[in-house]
Amino acid sequence: MTRRDEKSWSPYVAGALTGIVLILSVWVADKYVGASTTFVRTAGMIEQQFAPDKVKTMEYFIKEKPIVDWQTLFVAGIFIGSLFAAVMFNDFKKQAVPPMWEKRFGPSIPKRAVFAFLGGAVAMFGARLADG
């Protein structure tokens, strides 16, 4: 029994190639990859539009400056790379509600939106606490 559809590669192959990308990143650019700091910096940049003086004094934004850096471009690149692969391999699919969610919670888009939003907020708070 295999759950993999024909359009995807073996997760072992794609994973091992990703491992090589990670090695090259450390070797060539001296960067270990991560994503969640970008959400802190971006949140800081948004808050700066409304309360620049407050952001300047907040300890966490002094530690993680509200700027565009290597990781911001890395996170943007994930979007571009995935879009490119999906189009190239005819695997792009517009989807508002995931099938497994729909089966359990129904097809409502607002319902999915509310829970995905709250889930995202909780997940990021935890990720930052664990420094992941």
Binding site: S8, P11, Y12, A14, G15, L17, T18, G19, I20, V21, L22, S25, A29, D30, K31, Y32, V33, A35, S36, F39, A43, G44, E47, M58, F61, L73, A76, G77, I78, F79, I80, G81, S82, L83, F84, A85, D91, F92, K93, K94, Q95, A96, M100, W101, A113, A116, F117, L118, G119, G120, A121, V122, A123, F125, G126, R128, L129, A130, D131, G132
Partner: protein, 175 residues
């Protein structure tokens, strides 16, 4: 070449491979949490095992150095539990939801907005966390070989074989 350009190129390669591995979907992420579909574990562990061997080889040759995050038991256990609660509801990770959006799963937009809020809330909570949770069980920048007091390859080689054993078991079970 500028660091920003390196970031973009690395991100594109990473996003491409995440998409090709089929690991960006809610159904796969929740499938892993429900122990029904181990695709994500296969992908992640393959990447980790390859990168672990490669980075330590380069380190032994004096080409790269490790960049360790400090171990804070309290923050990592509590943070991990909170992250897991949110992840199990959203069904995307911080980085991978950008890729999910890239392949058309646009409910990732809600997750991205939620994560920006979560990051802003953590920034507000940081001064309190610093005097509480972030002081519980601080061990600094440590590694497994260091704690065990053994050569790093004595940890790496068993982990690689353990990973391969796990893969064989997944395939036998059809997970």
């Amino acid at each position: 070449m500028s660091p920003l350009l390196y970031g973009l190129i690395t991100g594109i390669a990473f996003g491409f491979l995440l998409q090709r591995g089929g690991v960006l979907r809610y159904d796969r992420q929740i499938g892993a949490l429900r122990l029904m579909d181990m695709t994500i574990l296969k992908f992640m562990l393959s990447a980790i095992l390859v990168a672990m061997v490669g980075v330590y080889l380069l380190k032994d040759m004096g080409i790269v150095k490790l960049n360790l995050k400090p171990t804070i038991i309290g923050a990592q256990i509590l943070g991990g539990l909170i992250f897991g609660l949110g992840w199990g509801v959203l069904g995307y990770c911080p980085g991978t939801q950008m890729g999910a959006l890239g392949e058309g799963r646009w409910d990732a937009v809600w997750g991205i907005m939620g994560m920006l809020l979560g990051a802003a809330l953590y920034a507000e909570a940081y001064p309190i966390m610093k005097t509480t949770v972030l002081t519980w069980g601080v061990y600094g920048k440590i590694t497994l070989p260091q704690v065990l007091g053994v050569n790093h390859w004595l940890v790496i080689v068993p982990l690689v074989f353990g990973g391969i054993g796990l893969f064989l078991w997944f395939e036998k079970k059809g997970l």
